[in-house]
Symmetry: C2
Subunit: 336 residues, 2 copies
DNA sequence: CTGAAAGCGCTAACAG
DNA sequence: CTGTTAGCGCTTTCAG
């Protein structure tokens, strides 16, 4: 293994100069920098991560805790994940993966051993058991998703409440008077992952403002549940003409079920999804949708975390970052 | 931060004794062990990962490189991932995530900086550009998937060739004489990720052995491509009665398309999938299938890697581990 | 069964 | 702009 001393000898400078050349923490003359770079390349030098971490108290690793649970749409998690890793690499950091089931203990371990410099937590619940720990943690963290009270934390997510409103308003604008929201599986509501409730709240508020007749429904992510729900919705309200789907797992089945029940989209029924753009585009009838910008959220989360790492004292990091929802009209919506 | 010295003082022993108590690398009297454990708990001691890595040249971290590409079914990757992390944790190791696009450079970096002790690589191509590097690497690695030549490597995967055979044989056994295999998207064949070809080879061989009329088809993972393919298959061969689907993305669409074209499953058409069990179970007609045991493969891959880490000289690690495919009959298959 | 002490390879004062 | 040096916190000989 080639070490910093070897490079130093080869470039005829001191080890610290190599270190500074690598970190850029003090100016190096052009000439010696060239020599150093040549030596590094020549010898294939790569600094020992552990030694670095020990001397600098920085591991250049971030922890990412991902959810495992039912009702969380896997492709979206994957998008987050990839975007986190990619963005972190852009900041010269690596990503250590923790699963939700490691819980607070897992976070304590990776933080306490100085394995990681910062922590990203996904799928935060309204009263997440990890919150007290994260508030008192001596390394920075960023939450993807919102707890009931973000005080003392840094949280980022799509503004789901605004998304719910936006959908309802678009349906109102199109002239629909009777609408429904099909949301997450029941478990998601039960464990109080905020986003499901927030969509429902925004949706309901906007419906009331516009005097729409509306209802909200949980739905298991199975084709059968979707079929049954479609039937029930039409049975309970045959005049339903507007639908919001916030449940990636069943969007397709639900649309197909309505078509089978004689409701042509968008002629008889306008549908708006809350889902990733690529999924909306791939529906049999391209789905008008509010995008779920997983990659953007993830990369902004990393950027926030990096900022906190670089400015430990800064009070300028917002506790809450809510991304404004963006609606794209495709072919699943039309006038009443 | 509490360090080993603090614990040593508190437990009235030397730092080295603490270290040995933690690692179990030399016997400790029951009495002092108790004192040490108490002190550790009392002080909340967690050893510094970097210091450990530096002194022991072991980071207790494994790297996992995951694919990002189209045609790779995301839920399966996620299963791998979770199983890798969980199994690694069982061996007191953490997992660092690398994306495919970091390529050989990424591997060189994490190995060269001693950030990780071992490497897991997913989605290996027949002539993967990373192979020469992995063969010469000074830390152990395990490949999930098979290159053309596994010599000097450790590879594990489902025996896809046997899976293809098994499917064809089951159809033959049921009396089917005219069958088809719908496989991966064209890109997967093009980049020569072995498994697609292997299934086709096993399938073809078994069909010829049994004198079946057969054909093999790539298919884009879209509902429309599935519909078109179903039409084409029946057009080209109206007497088709047996179908293998090795393409999670379209299994459902394909089955639905055949039903729409008047072929009831299993009455008119027997279908066997190669996919995870839970997906097979969730099809409209529960799908007879060869399981894709992602979790098992992942956990065995980690176990192999751990073994190589603990027995650096051992020649007893097999180059190739092929899991025997297991067929579960559900409701999508019946006699001709 | 336990202790003392020499590093592991790097960073960051401090000094010039 | 560069060099010298004292650690960072732990593991592991070596010694008893």
């Amino acid at each position: 293994m080639v070490k910093i001393k070897d490079v130093a000898r080869h470039a005829r400078v001191s080890p610290s100069t190599i270190s500074y050349a690598l970190s850029g923490k003090r100016p190096i003359s052009d000439e010696t920098r060239k020599r150093i770079e040549a030596s590094i390349r020549k010898l294939g030098y790569l600094p020992h991560a552990g030694a670095r971490a020990l001397a600098s108290s920085r591991s250049n690793v971030l922890a990412l805790m991902i959810p495992l649970r039912t009702g969380v749409h896997v492709p979206v998690i994957m998008q987050f994940l990839v975007s986190v890793v990619t963005t972190a690499r852009g900041h010269r950091h690596d990503v250590l993966l923790l699963t939700q089931d490691e819980g607070e203990e897992g976070l304590r371990r990776v933080a306490g051993t100085s394995l990681v410099d910062g922590i990203l937590v996904m799928d935060v619940e309204l009263n997440d058991p990890r919150l007290p720990f994260l508030r008192n943690l001596d390394i920075p963290s960023v939450l993807i998703g919102f707890p009931a009270d973000p005080a003392g934390l840094t949280c980022i997510d799509l503004d789901f409440e605004a998304a719910g409103e936006l959908c309802a308003e678009q349906l109102a604008l199109l002239g629909h008077r009777s609408v429904a929201l099909v949301g997450s599986p029941p478990q998601v509501y039960q464990r109080e992952t905020g986003f499901a409730q927030r969509v429902a709240r925004g949706f309901s508020a906007a419906c009331e403002r516009h005097g729409l007749l509306y209802s909200v429904h949980a739905c298991e992510p199975t084709a059968q549940a979707a079929r049954e729900l479609a039937q029930r919705l039409l049975y309970e309200n045959p005049r339903l003409t507007g639908l919001i789907i916030h449940n990636e797992g069943i969007a397709r089945s639900l649309m197909e079920s309505f078509e089978k029940l004689g409701r042509t989209i968008p002629r008889d029924l306008s549908v708006i999804g809350i889902c990733p753009d690529d999924e909306a585009e791939q529906m049999p009838v391209p789905l008008s949708s509010v995008s779920l910008p997983a990659s953007e959220i993830a990369s902004r989360a990393v950027t926030l975390l990096m900022y906190k790492l670089e400015n430990p004292e800064s009070s300028s990091v917002p506790e809450a970052t809510l991304l404004t929802p963006r609606l794209t009209l495709r072919e699943s919506t039309g006038p009443r």
